[in-house]
Assembly symmetry: C2
Homo-oligomer: 203 residues x 2
């Protein structure tokens, strides 16, 4: 009967694509025709603020996407012989299908400051206060960057997706600033280190 691993019925490619794949496809969409270097530059002042990745990923992933027929690459004849990337029709379809299919997951924050706070039993109250001050400063700095970026949008693009994504960044950073500022004011109560509790019998 039906095969165990069936390819998606619509035009999607057989090999499964990672998040990185869609990041690259999306970046190409925004700027095609473009080189890997240009894509990285674009990322660094847009999605890079909430989705970091090293430059080498773009080279690796774009090569893979070319093999899969989702990107076209044209190589410059002389000079730097750069690879110029464009979306193929299949690439465009794959990107659209992904964007149009939401997953119901909320992403991790992966905030090492929160991790430190959670484990703050390990340190003194002074250390925690210092942590809070550092986090506060870092988020204030980031907030400042976002405000600069926001100032560059014309009123006409107020409701464009890019501007709205930036808006979410602004909200997030403002709430972080509030949060850590509150902790600088009123540091947490550090509970005592655990006494060596004895293990219960195996259940």
């Amino acid at each position: 009967m039906a095969s165990v691993t069936s390819d998606p019925p619509d035009g999607a490619p057989s090999a499964r694509l990672s998040m990185t794949s869609y990041v690259v496809l999306g970046l190409v969409q925004e700027r095609e025709p473009a080189t890997a270097y240009e894509l990285k530059a674009l990322a660094d002042r847009s999605i890079g603020y909430f989705w970091e990745f090293p430059r080498s990923q773009i080279y690796a992933e774009s090569a893979r996407l070319v093999e899969l027929g989702l990107l076209d690459e044209e190589r410059e004849a002389q000079g730097r012989r750069r690879r110029i990337l464009t979306l193929t029709q299949a690439g465009r379809r794959a990107l659209s299908a992904w964007v149009a299919t939401p997953d119901d997951k909320v992403g991790d924050l992966r905030d090492s400051g929160l991790l430190r706070l959670f484990f703050s039993r390990a340190v003194s109250e002074d250390d925690v206060r210092r942590l809070a001050r550092h986090q506060l400063a870092a988020h204030q700095a980031r907030l400042g960057e976002y405000e600069q970026l926001a100032a560059q949008f014309e009123p006409a693009s107020e409701r464009h997706p890019r501007r709205i994504v930036l808006e979410s960044g602004l909200r997030y950073e403002r709430s972080c600033v509030e949060f850590w500022a509150g902790l600088v004011e009123t540091p947490p109560v550090i509970p005592p280190a655990r006494s060596g509790r004895r293990r219960a019998r195996s259940r």
Copy 2:
């Protein structure tokens, strides 16, 4: 003269520790003596909400930390012969040193919903509205979980680090709910797909 790769001068171990290392050390601190399984269970209802990782990581990483002398492991004599983990003095120091040394980085959100929104040029306005509805539902669900967790804290632990970390989660989810709800109301203006701009000459 000084060696090229010098170990940290204080009691810290020579091999560099990853974030995962500190996650495991921290979890052990919260629950020692504990098995890998117990640590994962603890993570799933605390830091797992903002820092996911698979269970196998704990087995791999705890073995490594034992080798480095940061954890002690004692093996049950019979039955499941589980490995019982505790912090060594060196482990305690390594954890404290890490918690007390803030890095000035803000973590990535890695939110695939934002990524989709950023690339929403690829889809129709209806698709974007559907995306927003899904994200809204997902964040509302998560917010609900947090509220349940919060209800379990006694008033006396209002200011404990765990409660405060949860507080930051509550704030974050509330702001996400606001954000996506706003988009459901007023979807973004999708700009036209890029026309095939011609490449500028190399600079």
